[in-house]
Amino acid sequence: MSAHTEAHHGPPEAHQSSRVDARVLGMFLFIASEVMLFGSFFTAYFFVRVSGHQPWPPHPFHLPVFVAGINTAILVTSSFTMHWGLTSIKRGNRAGLQAGLLLTFLMGLTFLLTQIREYSRLGFAPSDQAFGTIFYCLTGLHGAHVFVGLMLLLFATIRAFRGHYTPEAHQGVEIPGIYWHFVDVMWIVVYSTVYIL
């Protein structure tokens, strides 16, 4: 056997010059594209709001600030439990991971169901002026992201209860965690700007 063939065992190692793990980089690029997507909706929202020269929300619309505030608290708390779950598995506490993921999923589901319930009680539709359109677009876009996050959390929760993940290997929780916090951050921006300010 020649020296050349001895030096090669299988295909050459993939060349990656990035200092970030490829899966985390993928999630980061995805979130960057999401920021741009939300940015375009926020641009439309600020345009509608500034060009309307009216108080916000315009007469005769009313926004359920209190219920949305409770919903915000639920979603923020779900990020705390998400972080707790991930911290638990890093310390080898599987029960903590399972409880953290399950609570996060349930709170996320509560947020989404409450939002759907509120839609039915708002008294205006997406076709009611630019206000109605941008309100439903922004909150609906966020709701769609919560739904995707819930799917990721569901898979992570099922895997956690099936005994997956270890203190060394928990990428399957890390990535949904990043996404979930991003969804939470976006809601805080939506709630602050659309409902309160």
Partner: protein, 221 residues
């Protein structure tokens, strides 16, 4: 500058900052009116940007340890040099480091470019220049008995080193620069940066090309 979504822990920290940021703006707006909210928004935004960029400067880089490649009798040397690659001091250093081993030397010549040309992707001239210097250097190394391969690397010497480490691996990195005062790389802290980033022995060789050429000029007389 690090992105705030690099890991779950950093995303969580970013979420807490977002809560604090919007919480302060909301409280100021509800308590003091629109202008108070705007003032808090402007103040916190400026403070946040300042902190974000300053933190990036003071943060220690992630260390890279290349995987060992080659046989036990092989010594892999990664040489990073630009104009100074042909210097006699560098050639002597490479010979010393590979003495008694089967030498495998890779010379990387970064395609140094101006920031403006870099940002407008005008790199052809820089790469062609680096290739010319590399060809001349490899020829001089061969003349002095050092067999080496070469490639043109990224314009950033640290990035060029990292790229080469991933494909070539190295037992040692040799960085060749001009003497202090004339070296742009030393001024930019390339050697210090490399020692912080790479878990590989690093030798810094100072090559005074002017003195060497003076020697050459004086030799015939």
């Amino acid at each position: 500058m690090r992105n705030p979504f690099r890991s779950e822990a950093e995303a969580y920290r970013f979420l807490l900052l977002t809560i604090g940021y919007f919480g302060a703006i909301l409280i100021a707006t509800l308590a003091g009116g629109k202008w108070a909210g705007l003032a808090i928004f402007a103040g916190l935004t400026l403070a946040g940007l300042y902190w974000f960029f300053r933190r990036g400067e003071s943060e220690r880089p992630v260390q890279t340890a290349p995987r060992r490649r080659g046989g036990e009798d092989e010594r892999r040397i990664l040489v990073i040099a630009n104009e100074t690659v042909g210097g006699a001091t560098l050639r002597e250093t490479i010979r010393e480091r590979t003495a008694g081993y089967r030498a495998n030397v890779l010379v990387v010549s970064p395609a140094l470019n101006s920031p403006l040309k870099h940002w407008v992707s005008d790199e052809d001239a820089a790469r062609a220049g680096a290739q010319q210097r590399l060809d001349a250097s490899l020829a001089r190394l061969r003349e002095s008995g050092v067999e080496a391969e070469g490639e043109v690397g990224d314009g950033n010497p640290l990035q060029a080193m990292e790229d080469a480490l991933r494909t070539f691996g190295a037992d040692e990195i040799v960085i060749s620069t001009h003497p202090e005062g004339r070296s742009n790389w030393l001024e930019r802290g390339v050697v210090t940066g490399a020692r912080e980033r790479f878990v590989v022995p690093i030798t810094h060789v100072v090559v005074d090309l002017e003195a060497e050429s003076e020697d050459v000029r004086q030799a015939p007389t």
